[in-house]
């Protein structure tokens, strides 16, 4: 399923792990199953940017966060228009927005700890 995992021959491991978790799948809300990973994806990017910009103009890092946020929201819009494969979901938009905001707040914070450095 995941092309990258396939490319590095990790697909059997991923499928095995997914099989273990399949029992819990029906008990988890869609928000956690489908939208949370999107939010964590953007949040991890924001945290890495926070690290990169830890001792410089951290607000510039916010622009970089906004760039990926815009791309993510753009992809959702394209899905809504049927121009990109996938399903438009407001929960995905909310997850991206929440993660983008957390990233921006961390980058805007003057405390070094906020960037986990």
């Amino acid at each position: 399923m995941f092309r990258w995992f396939d490319a590095v021959a990790l697909n059997p491991t991923v499928l095995y792990l997914r099989d273990i978790g399949s029992g819990y799948r029906s008990r988890l809300p869609d928000l956690i199953l489908f939208s949370l990973p999107n939010g964590l994806w953007l949040l991890s990017y924001s945290l890495l940017l926070c690290f990169v910009w830890r001792d410089g103009a951290r607000r510039v890092g916010i622009v970089w966060v906004c760039t990926l946020y815009a791309l993510a929201i753009g992809s959702e819009c394209l899905q809504f228009a049927g121009l990109l494969r996938g399903t438009f979901d407001w929960a995905d938009v909310a997850a991206y927005t929440a993660s983008g905001m957390v990233g921006a707040i961390l980058l805007n914070s003057k405390r070094k700890l906020s960037c986990l450095t």
């Binding site: 399923m1 995941f2 092309r3 990258w4 490319a7 399949s22 029992g23 029906s26 994806w41 991890s44 990017y45 890495l48 940017l49 990169v52 910009w53 001792d55 410089g56 103009a57 510039v60 890092g61 970089w64 760039t67 990926l68 791309l71 993510a72 992809s75 494969r85 996938g86």
Partner: protein
């Protein structure tokens, strides 16, 4: 570290994360997806653990004090779940629960239940609790 270097690193991260997003998208064809969906529905409908958990819900509905109910684990030797085919399971187990007098007693139960294929909906066909 110079700002130029930070911008290059930021751009690198952006490219990596965009590539990750595209790489993790679903590359299956509609036919493969339908096949996977079918397999998933089959697994779900044959899942004994879910059948056991759902049987507990049907038993609880018939107890005097559902909140006091204690069920054994699926691996307990007194728990038997048989798949009968067509998404139907036969569950035999026990429950420890308070009766009308507040005493906790053990009751054996037998639940025959069916999963509505491809959904999380389960229907009890037969519920028998002995020793309430």
């Amino acid at each position: 570290m110079s700002d130029i270097r930070k911008h290059i690193q930021s751009l690198g991260l952006l490219v990596i994360f965009v590539a990750l997003a595209f790489g993790s998208s679903d590359s299956r064809t509609a036919e493969q997806m339908a096949q996977d969906q079918e397999q998933k529905a089959q697994r779900q409908c044959e899942d004994k653990i879910t059948a056991f958990v759902m049987s507990q819900e049907f038993v609880k509905k018939q107890l005097k004090a559902p909140a006091s109910a204690d069920f054994p684990r699926f691996t307990n030797e007194d728990v038997r779940v048989n798949y009968l085919g067509e998404c139907t399971h036969d569950v035999v187990a026990y429950v420890d629960a308070q009766n009308s007098f507040g005493a906790k007693i053990r009751s054996n139960y037998h639940v025959k239940l069916q999963n509505q294929r491809g959904t999380d909906t389960w229907t009890a066909i037969e519920v028998q609790i002995v020793g309430r």
